[in-house]
């Protein structure tokens, strides 16, 4: 069940009605928990045991950590137990085949006999998200920054809360658990703001991301798990001209932004309608002035997680320059690996890590504010180069596309089709047709424009406009909804 499906709407209407019909907090939490478990079970009910097991392990370990500290003992073994359980589960389900394949390739490269070992492992949806969420809770308790929650149901609801369960934002326990202790009142909910955010996410995902996926799939090839429609032509990238590859890369940048930030917006809007606040996850990342700024705006809940629990744990910038650079590289490499079990994801992380190191060095040598005019396009250029490795299906495809992106050359001559009639347009217009929606989206979604406008209009008109926008958005939704890109992580 995904947010852009009609059955989610029915599911949510039911949960919303029952939740607000109940007066006290405890039954509301039970309803939300049952709904969240049902929501997760819709993918594969067998993995309910996994998510409940991981949650209970961290809940229990945190209580042990607190108890051990109260007795004056060292609580480290409970932290290790929690980390081993979480990372072991993640490692088995997500990385077993990757490491096994890599080991076989490495041994064969050394000339040693090795045969591939591949297990048919189904990746539980959202495992990377809920694992990081539960780990952050245990780490916060271990650091003494958070008191452990006594109620296992509260903790389970924090982990499984359905709006953010499968693709974030990665909510911190310190921001969510206190909300469970207070009785939510419907009159405190800014319904217009919540519905507006949900609608904006819905448009980003179902209208922009899904419609722009066509040219991306043509050049990159269809994403894994998506069937190629009969008669359609897809990939390989080597068959396409450099112009087409550029267009596909730009389209993918728009697609992944709209897909993922669209999901986050829908998650935040859904949670707000139930009276809960989730953290913002995106802040116009393609307007970033530098690569460092980009990571303050892109997938903010993950970047702050990596900063707080990985970068700082590795030593952060509390050492020499090279030590800091090493920590940055390691953090981004592991961040890349978090996204997917493949070397192309590691390269994606490496490009970002390297760019962050170069930016830090540039700031040290030249000082802040120098060449600021060049900084934005250079940031976008680097980010888009990295997206090639993030999306490409194979190494060969990545290199062909990266070469086309960097040196404007490609062995192929095929032109990507952007839609009826658009292929005949001049290249400048075609490029603008791809970029314009992103710019418009940024301007329209900007709080400086949207929020004052919403407040200036009478409430009844805003409601009516929401209805009109919802109808137009629904008419644009492809009947076969594509799953969110980040569900695979």
């Amino acid at each position: 069940m995904i947010f852009s499906e009609p059955r989610f709407l029915l599911f949510f209407l039911l949960v919303f009605s029952v939740h607000w019909l109940l007066r006290s907090n405890a039954p509301r939490k039970h309803v939300l928990l049952a709904a969240s478990l049902y929501f997760y079970g819709c993918w594969d009910w067998r993995f309910l045991a996994l998510i409940v097991g991981a949650s209970m392990c961290d809940w229990w370990c945190s209580l042990r950590i607190d108890a051990a500290r109260a007795r004056g003992e060292k609580p480290k073994r409970w932290l290790w137990l929690s980390l081993c359980y979480n990372l072991g589960t993640l490692g088995f389900f997500k990385y077993f085949n990757f490491f096994a394949d890599s080991a076989v390739v490495f041994l064969q490269w050394l000339g040693l006999p090795a045969s591939p070992v591949t297990l048919q492992i189904v990746l539980p949806v959202g495992i990377s998200f809920f694992t990081f969420q539960t780990m952050s809770y245990t780490l916060d308790v271990w650091r003494g920054e958070l008191k452990p929650v006594r109620s296992p149901l509260d903790f389970l609801l924090y982990v499984t809360f359905f709006p953010q369960l499968v693709a974030g934002p990665i909510v911190r326990a310190s921001t969510f658990l206190p909300q469970l202790d207070t009785v939510r009142r419907f009159r405190d909910v800014d319904v217009h703001r919540a519905v507006g955010q949900f609608l904006s996410g819905f448009i980003k995902k179902s209208v922009v991301a899904d419609l722009i996926a066509g040219p991306v799939d043509q050049v990159f090839g269809p994403p894994f798990g998506v069937q190629v429609p009969p008669g359609e032509s897809f990939g390989p990238p080597a068959d396409y001209s450099a112009t087409s590859i550029w267009i596909a890369v730009v389209c993918y940048a728009i697609q992944i932004y709209c897909d993922f930030s669209g999901y986050s917006d829908m998650a935040i809007g859904t949670a707000r309608l139930l009276g809960y606040e989730l953290c913002e996850n995106f802040r116009f990342p393609y307007l970033a002035s530098s690569i460092t700024d980009f990571w303050r705006r892109w997938h903010m809940s993950l970047s702050s997680w990596l900063r707080d629990y990985l970068y700082i744990s590795l030593g952060g910038n509390r050492g020499s320059r090279w030590f800091t650079h090493r920590n940055l590289m390691l953090t981004m490499l592991l961040g890349g690996l978090w996204h997917g079990a493949g070397w192309t994801f590691v390269v994606w992380g490496a490009i970002h890590g390297l760019a962050l190191v170069v930016h830090k060095e540039w700031l040290r040598v030249a000082g802040p504010g120098r060449l600021s005019l060049l900084s934005r396009p250079l940031t976008i250029y680097t980010v888009l180069l990295a997206w090639i490795f993030f999306r490409a299906r194979t190494w060969e495809d990545s290199w062909v596309m990266a070469k086309a992106w960097l040196f404007l050359g490609s062995p192929g001559a095929k032109e990507v089709s952007l839609g009826a009639g658009l292929v005949d347009w001049p290249i400048g217009v075609r490029f603008l047709a791809v970029v314009a929606p992103l710019l418009l989206l940024h301007v329209a979604a900007s709080r400086r424009l949207y929020e004052p406008l919403r407040r200036a209009l009478p409430a009844w008109l805003v409601t009516l406009l929401f209805g009109v926008v919802a109808a137009i958005a629904l008419s644009c939704v492809p009947l076969a909804a594509r799953p969110f890109i980040y569900f695979q992580f």
């Binding site: 009826a420 009639g421 009516l464 209805g467 919802a470 137009i472 629904l474």
Partner: protein, 226 residues
């Protein structure tokens, strides 16, 4: 409370009002066999005087050319057209007959209706096919629900059939997924090109064997007729 309900009502007015406007601007059935048959009927067989309406039994079982030949032998020359649709049920008849008759040729004299399709039954299991979406109009919602409630299926089937009817009626009423097709068609019409035939039909009877994946079935049927 009244204020909240008023806002819900306003939202629905905005949503369904806009969808109705889209539907008004694009009154044709979407793009399934119904549409193809209508296009074919309009453009190529202006002198049709006999229409066959029904479900798959007529769609695959009636050969207009054989019917016309037999009628000619009997001294009543006809020009017939097979407008039957697989899966058609009683509740669909109003819509389909209306569409067909709205686009009929001036020569039309008789309509032959297959009685087997005149049955109270919701055909579950074909979720979100073009045909299901286009047939589940708001006008047919109540007769459909009547069929669901009065059939002799078990309670669970009634629940799933209700979901089936609700989902398709809402999808139809809200024009979900139609913008892409509407824009593409407007572009084609704007260029002065004919609309593509997604399912070419031959004389309103069989699918064109050149593009159909049903050739073995057609051959088997022709063998049976011989």
């Amino acid at each position: 409370m009244i204020r909240r309900l008023a806002h819900v009502a306003l939202f629905l007015v905005g949503m369904f009002g806009t969808s109705t406007a889209i539907r008004h601007a694009d009154p044709m059935p979407f793009f399934s066999w119904t549409r193809q048959k209508i296009v074919h009927l309009q453009s190529q067989v202006a002198d049709v005087d006999t229409l066959f309406l029904g479900s798959s039994r007529f769609n695959y079982g009636v050969r207009p050319e054989l019917f016309d030949a037999r009628m000619a032998q009997l001294g009543v020359p006809t020009k017939s057209f097979n407008a039957a649709l697989s899966g058609l049920r009683q509740v669909d008849h109003d819509e389909v007959v209306e569409w067909i008759l709205r686009h009929r040729s001036p020569a039309l004299k008789r309509v032959v209706i297959e009685l087997h399709s005149w049955r109270q039954q919701i055909r579950g299991g074909y979720w979100f096919t073009d045909q299901e979406i286009e047939l589940h109009t708001l006008r047919s919602f109540l007769p459909r629900m009547q069929a669901v409630l009065t059939d002799d299926h078990g309670l669970w089937n009634k629940v799933t059939e209700t979901g089936f009817v609700l989902a398709h009626t809402l999808t139809n009423a809200l024009c979900i997924g139609q913008a892409d097709r509407i824009v593409k068609e407007r572009l084609i019409v704007g260029r002065g090109e004919p609309l593509p035939k997604i399912y070419p039909v031959r004389d309103g009877g069989w699918n064109d064997p050149a593009v159909s994946d049903m050739a073995p079935m057609i051959a088997e049927h022709e063998e049976f007729e011989r």
